[in-house]
Amino acid sequence: MEKGHPATYDEVQKIHLLYFNIVKKRYWWFAISLLIIIPGIVSLFLHGLNLGIDFKGGTMIDMNFNKAVTQAGITDTMKSVGLDGPVQLSDGNTSALIRTEALEEVKRNELLTALQTKVGEYDKLGLKEDKVGPAMGQELTRNAFMALIIAMGLMIAYISFRFQFVFAISAIIALLHDVLVVVGLFSLFQWQIDASFVAAVLTIFGYSINDTVVIFDRIRENEAKMKRGDSYEDMVDKSVWQTMQRSVNTVVTVLIALFSVYILGGESTKVFALAMLIGVFSGAYSSIFNASQILVEIKKHMKNLRGKGGEVVRV
């Protein structure tokens, strides 16, 4: 091997044992993405998301009874004070998760007293209660959308400034892909979402684009070194492979962190960790297999539009 020169396309191919041409097979990657996204979108239109009280408003009480209780016992007690709502039992039927309308303090105290006398003693220090008024829920949804749009705008601006507008558009499409995968899967499986889901989606937003930018950074660097007649596709393929090890290793470390939170972190961070796990995985996929390929696609169309087949697209 000749010394003292940046790696050539051939050398990059040789280093990676599993090398295959990622850019050429791009329609396959797009197809895989659509295969996951389309059912998600359909489900989103048909069933929407399973919204928790953070969005809809309501009261959620998580309580641990001193001995096993029955679902009927709790439901009947709720009815006796004029309330209804789903009850979930866990931990050998000693732990109950009660959801109902947003309760005023008086009503809430009435319910807790009734539960104590009719169902059984519960651990007062282990009580968890969330009450969200309906107005607060609407505000959360509105803020979530605002945050997404503004974050997207800022990122387009930043990437356009640091790279080119087409890079920004490609990155944002890959990003929307990740958001759609996460939201779509949550809709398909009807997993209930809470406020932390919004945080997860926005973090995915920031994190997945981070992955994409690292690859784009390499494309930017290699693009500047392109000679007349070099193929843009090959250059992109080379760039993706040059950053492959980094893309894989980073995603592994982040997934390790998320798995620990998901498995060991307790109930209240589960939704967040699950959304993040899906999002980070999808983000890594879209960064490697979609973002640069979309860029190639857009550049190719721009070249065709100019109508000069021989011209090398360079900026």
Binding site: L125, K128, Y158, L202, D217, Q245, R246, L264, S268, T269
Partner: protein, 411 residues
């Protein structure tokens, strides 16, 4: 072999080890990083000011007054680091009481308007609670009085109360807290010293609760609870332990991964991670960032992300070495080229964190803040610490094997 570099490295390792050892206590004791209510129990309330019945808009002045009164009541509850904030736009007061033992009582006291009024026999209000100087709970002088709240009027109030008790000698004056009749005493003789009491409380606690309300004054607007998050103390501790365990396992596996994959630089990365963790925790401590459950999740996540900088650099160094550079030159050019990449990549995550902070509320904000602090700290650690250590390591010997850096070079 450069002895100096080895000595410096050993000194650095000892220094970091000492810093870790010395940090544990100040970061975790009573004055350590404040824990949010989801980690030690407590209650978070958003109180919404209800529109006035006569349709006049609620003024900022009224909101300030409401906030001041809430703060007074909160202080009487004896919470260590209470947070009382007002949102003028949305006419809300946000109250965070972490570590409170009886959240139900706190909620009860905070949401009460507590308008203390004295009414004449016809039911007209003749004197209001704002004329009070103080209200204290105590034991009644006679044993059959039970517990009492002793009232002291202001100078103005004393005058008014004297006039009032002169006018209504022989009649009854009703004392109300909101709509609740506390006492309906018959005025025997005019009271001119500005002292009065309300007796027959069953417990000292009940008297004390009312005294707090009377003393803090009445809210200028009535408040409803728009949001309430209550976590029992034992549940909070349980969450804290679970999060710490998740963090330790996550950290251990990331350590192992870096070690197995990157060998010698992996050790440097792990070492930098410890420094990174210390910096983040001390920043939290310094700025009194309240650590919440999502905050810890954000911190663990940021550890996963912080390694990213090392990975980008090491991969770059590998490339430089494969391209024929020496390890030392590889590290230098690897660093300077990776730096641009890292900045561009992290600015985007930072944008997301800032947007989240701006639009988020409560615990989401805690998460956004941890993430943002994490990004800045990881950049800082990488440029200063990681770079220094890596330079020292490759400086030890010019004949250092590139396989220690995970590079298989075919020569």
């Amino acid at each position: 072999m450069r002895r100096g570099n080895i000595l410096k490295l050993v000194a650095l390792v000892l220094l970091v080890a000492a810093a870790v050892g010395l940090s544990i206590k100040p970061l975790t004791d009573a004055k350590g990083i404040p824990l949010g209510l989801d980690l030690r129990g407590g209650v978070h309330l958003i109180l919404q000011a209800e529109p006035n019945k006569n349709g006049t808009p609620i003024t900022n002045n009224e909101m300030d007054k409401a906030k001041a009164i809430m703060a007074k009541r909160v202080n009487d509850l004896g919470v260590s680091e209470p947070i009382v904030q007002v949102d003028y736009d949305k006419k809300r007061v946000v109250v965070d009481l972490a570590g409170i033992t009886d959240p139900d009582k706190a909620v009860d006291i905070l949401k009460t308007t507590a308008r203390l009024t004295f009414k004449d026999p016809e039911g007209n209000i003749v004197l209001q609670g704002d004329e009070l100087k103080d209200a204290r709970a105590g034991q009644g002088q006679d044993s059959n009085q039970g517990y009492v709240v002793n009232l002291t009027f202001s100078a103005d109030g004393t005058q008014k109360f004297a006039d009032l008790t002169t006018k209504y000698v022989g009649q009854q004056i009703g004392i109300y807290l909101d709509d609740k009749l506390l006492k309906n005493p018959k005025v025997e003789i005019p009271i001119t010293n500005g002292q009065a009491y309300i007796d027959h409380y069953a417990t000292l606690e009940a008297a004390a609760n009312d005294a707090v309300l009377m003393r803090s004054g009445s809210l200028p607007v009535s408040m409803s609870i728009a949001e309430k998050r209550q976590v029992g103390a034992s549940l909070g501790i349980d969450s804290l332990h679970k999060s710490i365990r998740a963090g330790l396992y996550g950290l251990t596996f990331i350590f192992l991964f870096m070690l197995v994959f990157y060998r010698l630089p992996g050790v440097v990365a792990d070492f930098s991670l410890i420094v990174y963790g210390l910096i983040v925790l001390w920043v939290f401590w310094m700025f009194r960032v309240v650590l919440t459950l999502p905050g810890i999740a954000g911190f663990i996540l940021s550890i996963g992300m912080a390694v990213d900088f090392n990975i980008i650099i090491y991969e770059r160094v590998k490339e430089e070495v494969r391209a024929g550079k020496s390890l030392r030159a590889g590290v230098e050019s690897g660093f300077s080229r990776a730096f641009i990449t890292v900045i561009d990549a992290h600015v985007t995550t930072f944008i997301a964190a800032m947007t989240l902070y701006y639009f988020g509320s409560g615990s989401i904000r805690g998460f956004a803040l941890t993430l943002a602090v994490g990004i800045i700290a990881s950049l800082f650690t990488a440029i200063t610490f990681t770079r220094l250590v890596l330079r020292l390591v490759v400086g030890i010997s010019a004949k250092m094997k590139t396989t220690w850096f995970g590079v298989r070079r075919e020569v």
